[in-house]
Symmetry: C2
Subunit: 246 residues, 2 copies
Amino acid sequence: MITIGELARYVGVSTKTIRVYHDKGLLPEPPRDESGYRRYSAQDLVDLVKVRTLAEAGLPLATIARLSAGSPAELQDAASAAVTELTARIERLTATLSRLQRLAAGNSPFLPPEVEQHLLRLHDLGFSDRWVALERDLWILTFATYPDTARRYFADQSEAQNDPELRRLYLEYDHAHDLDPADPALADLADRIVTASLARYPTTDLNEPPDDLATLPQLVQSSINESSPAWKRLDTLIRHGLRTRR
Amino acid sequence: MITIGELARYVGVSTKTIRVYHDKGLLPEPPRDESGYRRYSAQDLVDLVKVRTLAEAGLPLATIARLSAGSPAELQDAASAAVTELTARIERLTATLSRLQRLAAGNSPFLPPEVEQHLLRLHDLGFSDRWVALERDLWILTFATYPDTARRYFADQSEAQNDPELRRLYLEYDHAHDLDPADPALADLADRIVTASLARYPTTDLNEPPDDLATLPQLVQSSINESSPAWKRLDTLIRHGLRTRR
DNA sequence: GTGCGACATTGCCCTAGGGGAAGGGTCAAG
DNA sequence: CTTGACCCTTCCCCTAGGGCAATGTCGCAC
């Protein structure tokens, strides 16, 4: 016949928790000794562990109370439902853990290392910090929302960087940031970009993202455009060129 | 420039959550558009995912607020601390999961199957329901508190059941339940049990449990003793015999 | 332009699962 | 016979949001 404190230590909860469970009807109040102390039996320990197991699995205490009063069959059903839910929760936590580890290592919590690599290389190739930051944003958004699709896109994009012709075009895009929006060089650049784009993506295949993903480039593009009237103009010219020449 | 709802969907939280984070200073309030709606950038998404990663890892929001304002080094430290803690939590949840699975299967949430086996066999060997129930309680307590030690003890005990001599003694113990406490058969039985015990455990090795565990048999023994004056007498006689004859 | 459904705003109250302190009694050891 | 470690109840507090109300706004259909 153990006291509340001993029971609590055995099960690994606080005495307060046990009293709360009594109040909420999750556990029967045990008999008291002469001085009014609660005295628990081994069966109470069994019951408490059962309740804790369900509570740790995330079931609301009210549900557990209903279950303890109900039939064992109901409890089994609820338990199997909780099993699948808890399994999912553990998986989510594992994903959180890996993000957390990247955070602890000082990295951004979602970009895979190869993307960070790619961004570093951009810098070395002469792209401006601004450009790298924007591309970074784009990848973050993409990976945060559709990791699988993102991986495909990234493979394509990082391969594109190996084509010196394309690379030069991207660099020109980058450096056009401070041009006058009316500069005729913009129209020329847009024209060459459209040509290269159509050569690389003859069909609409990889170029047109699925609907869900379509808003992401838009989002990033809009923040790009806001930072420079020249880029905004360039974007307009390119879109127009792609529409009319496809 | 996305709205709060879009941001929420990207990250997988409710809009309410985002507003709460603004209120608590976890995230800066973004600029508003003409109609007063909040408008978020990609950077806000990055920040939000960072916050959520820490929050899902179990850090209090107040801590996260401090961290976001502090240096990256502090954040990294906190993140690595959180990594170890989250790892532990996942382990605990995995243990909970296995208990939950046993619960879903209709079994007691802590006894390993071989112990259940053992208890069933006891019944077949002629032990009373009362005895089996008591022994069950003992194992439950032991496994609930010190699973590793419990496994060692159980291996020893279940092996003891294979010795027909010992088995007969345990059976006699069981059946002594309803004897008169003054019955001389009790003294005789106690004597034979002491002899067998000393033969099986010549040193104090396995017989004396570690301090932590010592209270458990006591707990069970006390409930045993309460159920029968004869058993209580037997317990006293055995303890005395072990003390004097060792 | 009128209506409609989906979205946004603030504000206020509600809840779960306890934590912690107040104010008091009890028990065992030195 | 005091001291430290328990126990008792009651009360208020906290976190991390959820829910609801009252109101304003978007974009699309008619």
